[in-house]
C-alpha cells in the first residue's frame, strides 16, 4: 500500500488503532505508507560516505522506530515527528547529534547527560561506550543510563538541514573526513600508503575496508558476506577508517 492510497484521516485512524493493538500488520501498513517520505529525507544526505541503499536502510529503521513511538494523542503530525526522528538517526549515524524536540524535563536532562557522556567516551575510548562505561563515567545508576537512552527518539537536526550538495556548508568533520577517504581511495591517495595502512588493521577490518572501497559493496552486502548485521558493519568501518587516519597523522 502506498501513501497516496491512504487519506490523512485513514492514517490517523490507523495510528490510533496501532497505538492500542500494537498489531504488526497495522505497523507494516503505516511504515509502507511513509516509506517514500523516509527516502525523500534520506536522499537529502546522498553523496556522503554511505551508499544510497545503506542510507535508505537507516531511514527505514528510523521510520519503524518513529511509527512505534508516535503517540497520536499528543496532537503533533506524524510526518513532523518522523521527519525529526529520521533526520536524527541519520545525523547520529554520522555521529553528530544534539537535541531539538521538547521532552519531559527530567528525561531530557538525563538524556542530555547520557548523550554527552556517550560522546565524550566515544572520543576517549575510540569506540561506542557500554552502559557500564557511561554509568561509571557519569557516576549514575545503570538503570538511569538505560532510561536516558530510551528517550533517544528525538535527536536534533540543527546542522543537518543543509543538503549534501551544498558546497558552502561542508559536512560535519567526521563525515567530511570519511567522505574524503572514500572519494580519494580510488585515485589521489598514494596506493602504497593505503596498502601499508591496511596492513595495520586486523584481518576482519581489512576485509571490510576492501569490500567497501575496492569492491564497492554496500554495507548490507558486506554484512551478508561477513556474517554480521549491517549496523555492525557500519561501526567496524568507522573504527577502521579512524584507525587508518590515526596512523596517518601520528
Amino acid at each position: 500500500m502506498r501513501e497516496s492510497e491512504l487519506s490523512p484521516a485513514e492514517i490517523e485512524t490507523l495510528f490510533k488503532t496501532y497505538h492500542e493493538t500494537r498489531s504488526r500488520k497495522d505497523r507494516n501498513i503505516l511504515v509502507e505508507a511513509h516509506i517514500g517520505f523516509a527516502r525523500f529525507i534520506a536522499n537529502r544526505y546522498r553523496n556522503r560516505s554511505v551508499t544510497n541503499d545503506d542510507l535508505h536502510q537507516i531511514a527505514l529503521l528510523a521510520l519503524v522506530k518513529a511509527v512505534d513511538r508516535f503517540d497520536p494523542g499528543n496532537g503533533a503530525a506524524f510526518t513532523s515527528f518522523a521527519g525529526r526522528t529520521i533526520e536524527g538517526e541519520i545525523k547520529r549515524y554520522f555521529r553528530d547529534s544534539t537535541w531539538s524536540v521538547r521532552v519531559p524535563r527530567s528525561a531530557q536532562e538525563l538524556h542530555l547527560a547520557v548523550r554527552r557522556g556517550q560522546d565524550e567516551l566515544a572520543t576517549k575510548l575510540d569506540r561506542s561506550p557500554t552502559v557500564n562505561d557511561i554509568a561509571r563515567h557519569l557516576e549514575i545508576d545503570r538503570g538511569d543510563v538505560l532510561r536516558g537512552l530510551a528517550a533517544s527518539a528525538a535527536f536534533s537536526t540543527t546542522s543537518l538541514d543543509r543538503s549534501a550538495n551544498d558546497s558552502n556548508h561542508p559536512a560535519p568533520d567526521r563525515t567530511a573526513a570519511l567522505s574524503s577517504t572514500d572519494t580519494n581511495l580510488d585515485g589521489t591517495v598514494d596506493r602504497v600508503l593505503v596498502e601499508s595502512l591496511l596492513t595495520s588493521l586486523g584481518d576482519r577490518d581489512r576485509q571490510i575496508i576492501e569490500l567497501r572501497f575496492l569492491d564497492e559493496l554496500s554495507q548490507g552486502d558486506i554484512a551478508q558476506q561477513v556474517g554480521v548485521s549491517q549496523m555492525h558493519v557500519s561501526r567496524l568501518l568507522r573504527r577502521a577508517l579512524e584507525s587508518m587516519r590515526n596512523q596517518l597523522t601520528r
Binding site: 500494537r22 504488526r24 507494516n28 536502510q57 519503524v64 557500554t130 548490507g220 551478508q224 549491517q230
Partner: protein
Amino acid sequence: MTDRITLELPALTRYISTVRLAAVGIAAELDFDTDAIEELRMGANELIALAIEAAEADGVERVQVTFLVEAGSIEIMCIFNPASPDAGVQIDPLAEQILHAVADDFSVEGSTIRLLKRRTNARV
C-alpha cells in the same frame, strides 16, 4: 559457558515490551555497547511480535522465549507453537529487512524463530 534464561508469556502484544526489557537488561549485563543494545531491542521486538502473531494465527495462547547468553553474544529463540514444532511462519519483507539490519543472524525453523546478536567488540 552458556546461561539459559526462559520466559513463557501469554501470546498478547502487551507483553512485547517485557521481552524487549529482558533483552536490553541481559545485553547491558554483558557490557554490550549502546548502539548494539538499541539494535538488539529492535530485533527482539520484531522477533517476539512475529511469534505472537504466529501464535495467534495458530490459536496458541502462550509463547516461549529463551535467551542463550554467552560472553560475547545473545541468542534469542521464540517458540510460538511448542506443541507443533514443524509449524512454519512467513516472515514479511519489512520484518526481514529489519532483522537483516540489526541482527548478526536470524532464522526460522518450524515454530522457532531465532536471532543472534554479538557484542560489537567480540570476535566473529
